[in-house]
């Protein structure tokens, strides 16, 4: 039975270095699952031996050497692909050298993030894979965050790791020609997870907050690994601006409060300030991207807290126009409609909404909520009612649904 001190030391080593250890071992053995297993063995060994031997001076190096030994043992037993053996021998030498020198070993987590978001990996597995291998979250926690059965999530992760090993997805930083696309895939995976957390507004459900917290942790790590990449700063700023408003999105009764009705005193000032500095830094690189633009839009919204509750909608329209030119996603098109309607009236908004291809919005809730809102303002009550019904049907979050139902009944009585 390990004593409290040992348990704390092991836990600290796990928290500080899990991702770095997995990345280092996997980059050399080219087998993520084997690297994770070997490291798990090393942590077990630490719990068993550190109480008697004492916590080593360099716990990470100790874990690395132990895990490396397990990898080699296993490789001998399994007679893995012959070409993996020289790579493993290299790990042995390196690990020995590292154990005898400083506590530093190369940080391969960026390679690991790029592998997790490789185009040949199932989109649904990308962020779970990042959370498990880079942040060290266990599969059960990841499964509950994504509302998937633990067994199903375990399978998804296992399958992705087999694919990485057997299809030989390389542990390399993408080349310059592929860099923008590959980086965007990493950013998108993180942002999609943040979005899942954002859509679950209801306070009772901690899931939304969990996912948002994990996404922010990944965003911070990526920024640490790529400190000068403006889109990385843009994504982190965007998530922080949104997260700053989390507590203002629900009223005391748990009802949904739209952005325009939020009490700005409930916004987190430290998060807004951090986001603001990130965005300023990103802008200095003079290389615009869609995450920076989206963050800039959120930045204009948060300025309302300083400038007496007035939102500079015309400024937001201009930013959305830039965003639509850069990346005409359905989300950007609908966002532009909302901003235009606020700045120039519901008729102007409706004109833009009509131009969005209908086949792209069949199940897109924000479109129907926006359409319902504009139709109501334009006095087209029957059409508004149909649109509200559709938006309500597409809302998964109870608080959002209740908010739309209330607006729907205001329409009928008003």
């Amino acid at each position: 039975m390990p004593d409290a001190e040992t348990a704390a030391a092991v836990e600290k080593a796990a928290r500080d270095s899990y991702g770095r250890l997995v990345a280092y071992l996997a980059a050399r053995s080219r087998d993520l699952a084997a690297a994770e297993d070997a490291l798990a063995d090393a942590f077990h060994a630490a719990l068993a031996t550190w109480p008697d031997l004492g916590v080593p001076e360099k716990p990470e190096a100790w874990l690395l050497v132990t895990a490396r030994r397990r990898l080699i043992d296993r490789a001998r037993h399994a007679k893995v692909h012959a070409e993996a053996t020289p790579a493993l021998r290299l790990v042995t030498e390196e690990a020995q050298a590292l154990a005898s020198r400083a506590n530093l070993f190369p940080d391969e987590r960026l390679k690991l993030l790029f592998i997790c978001a490789h185009p040949a990996i199932d989109v649904a597995a990308r962020t779970p894979l990042m959370l498990q291998t880079v942040l060290g979250l266990d599969a059960a926690r990841i499964a509950s965050a994504f509302l998937v059965k633990p067994a199903a999530m375990g399978q998804r992760l296992t399958r992705a790791k087999i694919k990485i090993r057997d299809a030989r997805i390389p542990f390399e930083i993408p080349e310059a020609a592929e860099w923008p696309e590959r980086l965007d895939a990493v950013l998108e995976a993180i942002y999609a997870t943040y979005g899942l957390g954002w859509n679950a507004v209801t306070g009772a459900e901690s899931r939304g907050k969990d996912l948002a917290t994990e996404a922010l942790a990944l965003g911070r790590l990526l920024w640490q690994l790529l400190p000068d990449e403006p889109e990385v700063q843009g994504l982190l700023a965007l998530m922080l601006y949104c997260e700053a408003r989390r507590d203002a999105r629900l009223d005391a009764q748990g009802g949904f409060v739209p952005l325009s009705g939020q009490d700005t005193r409930l916004w987190s000032e430290p998060m807004i300030n951090e986001a603001h500095h990130l965005l300023l830094r990103a802008e200095r690189a003079r290389h615009i991207g869609h995450f920076q633009l989206e963050a800039a839009i959120q930045s204009v919204h948060t300025r309302r807290a300083i400038f007496g509750g007035k939102t500079a909608w015309e400024e937001i329209v201009v930013l959305y126009e830039g965003l639509v030119r850069l990346a005409p996603t359905t989300g950007a098109l609908v966002g532009r409609v909302a901003a235009t309607a606020e700045a120039r009236g519901p008729a102007a908004g409706w004109e833009l909404l009509r131009q969005i291809p209908p086949e792209s919005v069949v199940t897109y809730q924000p479109y129907w909520a926006q359409a319902a809102h504009l139709l109501g303002q334009l006095g087209r009550v029957t059409e508004a009612r149909t649109a509200y019904e559709r938006a309500i049907g597409l809302s998964e979050d109870p608080a959002t649904r209740a908010f739309l139902v209330r607006k729907f009944s205001d329409l009928s009585t008003g």
């Binding site: 007679k79 040949a120 990996i121 694919k163 057997d166 299809a167 030989r168 997805i169 390389p170």
Partner: protein, 76 residues
């Protein structure tokens, strides 16, 4: 026998599609069974990224799919 090779299971497959000069890469084998297999190539490359580069150069009709799958490695 003139030639042939086993393939790794479908889980290792990646599909490439060329659309207006842009390469679209997706996880998984090519699923539409109504379509026809048009041919195959065996290449010797170090990893999937290099294989995908070559797959994008396969002289096939625009809009067609190229499935990339590793040859089965029989442990010695």
């Amino acid at each position: 026998m003139a030639g042939g090779a086993g393939l790794e299971p479908p889980g290792t497959a990646t599909t490439v599609r060329l659309q207006s000069g842009k390469r679209h890469v997706q996880d998984g084998p090519y699923a539409d069974t109504k379509e026809q297999l048009g041919g195959f190539y065996t290449i010797d490359v170090p990893n999937l990224d290099v294989a995908l580069e070559w797959a994008a150069r396969v002289p096939a009709a625009p809009g067609s799919y190229v499935e990339v799958r590793p040859n089965l490695v029989v442990p010695a």
